[in-house]
């Protein structure tokens, strides 16, 4: 399959066209390869970050839950009052775009606003400090989560882009370029052959002409000999000498150069 070539007439025009295509394919191949390398680097980096963060997340969540238990110890069960005191989301996530080697990757940025007044007064009578500490630890857990989510989406996007790019690189390397090369070499061989054929044809014609001239010369010599003999014998014919003269002098119509 890799040995196929494009079906094309072997003309010089086609040769220039396909040479141009080949050049384009080579340039594209090297560019894509560079893109694939850049993506690979980003991929490895994201992978490493992802691993670290996932390991850290376990510990962070455990700490957050533990501080929740601590707060529950001091303040009793404040889950209901907490649920009631929520007004609007104090932590929001914005999506920004990052451009890596031409691939647009989403990045999540966390935006936090001040907590509403109702939350600040939670546990005023007892346990307030523990509740605020719990809030801090859960906030940091949330930060880790947002970061992790961002990394995860980046990972998936980079993975996809890397696959596509690698596919293109491989396609160029193993399918398109050989095909083009084959086509070019085929055209070149065809052209060469044609030249050779032409050459050979002309050579043959020249040979034939040379032979014809020789034959004519030989005949002419033979005739002059005969003529000489005839002259000696007193018979003289003009036609033979006229033919001989017109043969040796003047342009040969078959010879083009």
């Amino acid at each position: 399959m890799a040995q196929a070539r494009y079906a094309v007439f072997a003309t010089r025009m086609a040769l220039t066209i396909y040479k141009g295509k080949l050049k384009g394919a080579i340039k594209g191949h090297s560019l894509l390869k560079r893109k694939a390398d850049a993506l690979k680097i980003k991929f490895r980096k994201v992978l490493k970050d992802l691993m670290e963060n996932k390991m850290a997340l376990g510990g962070t969540m455990r700490d957050a839950n533990f501080s929740l238990s601590t707060a529950k110890y001091s303040a009793g069960d404040f889950s209901e009052s907490l649920k009631e005191s929520v007004e609007s989301a104090s932590v929001r996530v914005r999506i920004q775009e990052e451009n890596v080697a031409g691939v647009r990757l989403p990045v999540f940025k966390q935006q936090s606003e001040d907590i509403g007044s109702s939350m600040q007064l939670l546990g005023l009578g007892k346990g307030g400090q523990a509740i605020q500490k719990t809030r801090q630890s859960f906030l940091s857990a949330l930060e880790v989560l947002v970061h992790l989510a961002s990394l995860q989406t980046t990972f998936v996007a980079v993975d996809e882009a890397l696959k596509v790019t690698n596919r293109r690189v491989n396609a160029l390397e193993h399918v398109v370029k050989p095909k083009l090369e084959n086509t070019v070499s085929y055209i070149v061989t065809e052209l060469d052959e044609r030249e050779r054929e032409e050459f050979f044809r002309l050579k043959k014609i020249q040979e034939k002409k040379a032979k014809a001239i020789e034959a004519a010369e030989a005949q002419k010599n033979a005739e002059s000999l005969v003529e000489a003999q005839l002259r000696l014998t007193g018979q003289f014919t003009n036609e033979a000498s006229e033919e001989g003269a017109s043969m040796s002098m003047g342009g040969d119509n078959d010879l083009l150069y």
Binding site: F66, Y73, E84, S117, L121, K126, Q129
Partner: protein, 367 residues
């Protein structure tokens, strides 16, 4: 001369809570309370519980204490919330029994004890109804000791006026609500936490007055405990209200008018804006100064202020059992029971989350 002394002695003995006539009405219940006290978990029990690897082991160990039958029908696998629910149920059962077999004036005293839980429940119901939560969910979350008649009707009342009417008239907390709203502030304007704390302050002052009226040992023991409670709330509110919308001007409204820190300490606390001010305010009282100095921020094994408060409360409650013929032991016993349930919850959470080394941090041994 001797006659007057005799008469005075006779009169003082007729006041509720006096030693001579105490056993007539409340002797059985005091004995019952002391019996309950004996069934509180000991150091040994706690030691066993702390060795457990999983919550089911805890259930096994608790089965040898008084909690046995309550944990029998707990679903498998056991969760900390289930354990706590069952323990609280048991405490509620004990309380109901004591209350049902009590006579005046012990009944009033026990009612006073229930008011604090009622305040929490009412606040829960109010805020839940404001956010349109279903009625049965809210009633489930209420503390069993704080249930009273007519609670469900709060969730049904939809208009704001009806709700106020109900609050100010039909509940046992009516007088406290009246005080709370007397400053012409609309209930919906006030923050729910501020309402809660104002109610609690009014309740504490009322309780203190009642104990003073009871006289004799009850007054001695209970007033000591209540003073500590008032001071503790003052300090906690002050510290928790730094950098919040509760300004130093509004703060004094939440402070009780009794306690060891009155009046100088409270004045300083009201104006405090950070920890050094609080320290200066506590300078006047030995106990408080020691407590504040010993507190850390909870990391590296130091105890937080809250932990030290709980410890002090436990100490005061234990001392209540030293005397006889007073109602303080009921209060003390139920506070100790609460602390025990908190201990169990803490141990259970630590085991469930795999942080057994942290148990010692917050655990307060009772006996």
């Amino acid at each position: 001369m001797a006659g007057y002394g005799y008469l005075a002695g006779l009169i003082s003995s007729l006041v509720p809570g006096s030693s001579m006539t105490f056993n007539i009405r409340d002797g059985y219940l005091e004995a019952l309370a002391r019996g309950f006290k004996g069934s509180l978990l000991t150091q040994n029990d706690y030691h066993n519980l702390m060795q457990c690897e999983k919550l089911d082991d805890m259930k096994l160990h608790l089965a040898s204490t008084d909690y046995a039958d309550f944990l029998q029908d707990a679903p498998y696998p056991l969760e900390t919330s289930v354990i706590i629910e069952k323990c609280t149920e048991r405490m509620a059962m004990e309380f109901k029994h004591v209350r049902n077999t009590s006579v005046e004036p012990l009944t009033t005293f026990l009612d006073y004890m229930q008011y604090s839980y009622m305040i929490d429940n009412t606040i829960l119901l109010i805020s839940g109804t404001m956010h349109n939560r279903p009625c049965d969910e809210l009633l489930e979350k209420c503390h069993p000791l704080g249930m009273f008649e007519g609670m469900a009707s709060l969730t049904v009342n939809t208009t704001v006026e009806d709700r106020y009417q109900w609050l100010m008239v039909d509940t046992p907390l009516a007088p406290y609500f009246k005080k709370c709203i007397s400053e012409e502030k609309d209930l919906s304007e006030l923050h729910i936490e501020i309402i809660r704390n104002t109610l609690y302050k009014t309740y504490l002052e009322d309780f203190y007055r009642h104990c003073k009226y009871m006289g004799n040992s009850t007054e001695e023991v209970m007033c000591e405990i209540l003073k500590f409670e008032a001071d503790r709330r003052a300090v906690t509110i002050t510290i928790n209200s730094f950098n919040t919308e509760l300004t130093p001007d509004d703060r004094p409204a939440l402070f009780c008018n009794f306690g060891n820190l009155v009046p100088h300490g409270l004045q300083l606390l009201a104006k405090a804006t950070d920890d050094s001010n609080v320290r200066a305010a506590l300078e006047f009282d030995n106990t408080w100064r020691k407590i504040y100095d010993n507190s850390g921020d909870g990391r590296d094994g130091s105890k937080t202020l809250e932990d030290l408060f709980f410890e002090e409360e436990v100490k005061l409650c234990k001392m209540a059992f030293e005397q006889q013929f007073h109602y303080g032991i009921f209060y003390a016993y139920f506070k100790l029971k609460e602390q025990e349930i908190r201990n169990i919850e803490w141990i259970a959470e630590c085991i469930a989350q795999g942080k057994k080394d942290q148990i010692q941090r917050k655990f307060i041994p009772i006996f």
